[in-house]
Amino acid sequence: MKELIDRHAASVRPQIPLLARELSGRPLIFLDNASTTPKPRQVIDAVVGYYERSTANVHRGVHSLGEEATRLFDDARREVGALIGANPSEIVLVRGTTEAINFVANGLELGPEDEVVFPASEHHANWIPWRLHGKPVPVPIDEDGLPRWELIEKLITSKTKLVSIGHVSNVTGAIAPVEEVVRIAKARGVPVLLDAAQSISHLPLDIAKLGVDFLAASSHKAFGPSGVGILWSKKEFLAKCPLYQVGGGMVSLNNDLDVGGFIPRDAPFKFEAGTPAIEATIGFGAAVKWMRGIGMGAIREHDLAMSKYLFDGLSDIRGVRVLAKRLPPEERIALATFVVDAPSMTQESVARALCDMFGVCVSAGFHCTHVLHARAQLPGTVRASPHLFNTTEEIDVLLEGVREIAS
């Protein structure tokens, strides 16, 4: 197991410049990938290359640089399409997962009585939109923050307009039983949205197999720049989904007032008003290309072994409560959220101590999941979220740190 983890990590570490950094004389140990991932050299080069060689606006550049930039930009949509098995025409480029979910919430034109069923453990990005649009119907969770999936069938009623689930929880790392949820929802004619923010860089994704109707994801959690993400949906939805922002780039023709209205372009372009995040999108394409080059299967192989290594290690430490540790590695990713029993220290200060004393970067707080923390009566938590480049040696440092703080 150790050998496998470290072999994968060793093969990619030299490609990620951030990992060469030191914190107070100690090597940086980056274990906060669920927040955002460091960027490989290929991504940095793609972004810098756009600045240094091909700066131009896209889809309207008539000169050679405009054509180059457009090609690089369009390639990103194709890369992501290939990653999830979707045609590029079904991928709307948005700012990230949050915007993608808001896009659907707006596009479904939900009334106040239209219900949206989602686990109470969801990230705010998949919680708050349902307060603004429609009526939230949270699926109860257990004391570990895991959704009680067996209850979902009863919660789906004739008023349910959408089931919206996180593919991988950003708190427990649990993988949702997507195909089962889809089966239940489809039997009732209800569409399913999948928040793939956490899964996109950890699990092989295939929209045909998943059977969902919408998929949302962010570039920055998948080794790409922030400021860009995707909403994937079927052509039928995109064809009838109302426009919520308009302007340049999305319009095919704008007539003068006495002549007529305006003609939007086809999806996805009609949803992409204004100059997009060009360099971020180009970087996103490079990131997806990088992941695909490694292979999502190989990434998951590291992830499974890492998950076991991390949970075994944390479970051995007294004074540490690890959420959802009963889940087998196949039902989770390598992401551990835990509470360290350290007198008079908040979980945030535990995380800061890990950084200051050991060079270990982890998250702490509520991870945009207030309801989960409230229901599980957690005073905040610490979250360690390794990825492909992390070694067992780094996890050992984390464990040493937690052990020291907890004792």
């Binding site: 309207r60 090609r71 290939a82 045609n87 372009f269």
Partner: protein, 439 residues
Amino acid sequence: MALLDDNQALPVPDSEHVERTVQALRKALQRIPFYAKYVKPPALGEATSLKDALAALPLLTAAQVRPTLPKAWLPDGRDGRAEFAMGKLKVVETGLAEDRIRLLWDGAWWRAQEARALRMNKTAAAALDGAFGAYREAVLWIPERGTGSCGSGDPEFEERLEGNRLHLNSRQDPTFWSEPVMTRMLDELARHATVGLLADPFYLDVLARHASAQRRSLDVRGFVGLTRGLTTTAHRAGLKAVCPTAETVQIYGAREAGVLFVEGEDKLLHHAPFTTHIEFLRASVPTPGAVDVALVVVTTLDREVQPLVRYVLGDLVQVARAPSRFTTVSPIVSVEGKLADALLRPDGALVTPGAVDRALTEASPRAYQVVQTDAQSVSVEVVEGSLEAVKAALAPLLVGMTLTARQATAIAVEPNGKYRVSRREGLGTSYERFEGAER
């Protein structure tokens, strides 16, 4: 000039092809400012044979045409301003970023020479003569006008009608065509009572697959002319499924020169008379998977504006070992794609896009694009096909190179709306691999 034999639809051979070419050379050099100023050709003496005349003149490349303005290409004494105002002449662009050139476009000339060339194919000739009902054609390629970003909307059916020619498409990149747009095209093919469809094979493929999904066929009564791109094995199969009866005719033309070759019933592409003279510069390096490969150099015969003299078109062909029918130029077996897109093996060999496609006949992915990223590396994107099968099929062609295969759901369109099955990133022009083009 007598274009047609009295008793048959086919054009008669041009017995004066050689003299016509010498005259065209002379005229171009005398009357076009560009040649006097930029190329400074030696004067051609009265007695010069075609062979000597050509040998005395340099090759002309896109790189030389690119930095010029249209006025350099108007014959002395012609009033360009007036002709632009009347719509007789237009300025159009052709080619990609690296080889884009501006062209003086004479629509009437194009239509006349195209109709003349099409007649070399018996079915097309019969179609033009009304064998399938009054001749009406539809074209399917990059929209001349239509929905780009901040574009001009979707022109109506009537607005897309130009005489008996219907422009089917008003949208860019077919990857993003919506179902209603494609259904409209299918409907319009029928409504227009289309006899001849002239199409870019990549665009047609998208429409053909839509038709297939809708269990419809392409309503084309006479023939389908495939032009503007390399027709792949998968394109042919896709088309056959929804258009089983209409004959397909391969047409090799270039916006800057006219129609060069048209497929005959013998499956060879024959040189069109009266429009161009062609020189074949033979490959001086091995061309695995392709036989008698040559680089096409064109001299135009009846282009009054912007006549081209020994212009390197950039396309590769397989020259046929068969007699010529209409001129002194040999027929060709196939258009092999652009030299700029051919793969350069480290051992010096050149792999044409055509050779790549033939190698993939068995594996038959729905679509693919092969990209040479550096001297040793090739990557191939595959849409709906086995990566292993594609790699295995290409390996014998790419000895000495590393090949990676990747799945894709769509192939990238070029900014000018064309698709490429093969692409080479920044490895020079490679003219030196052709006899007579080494300089």
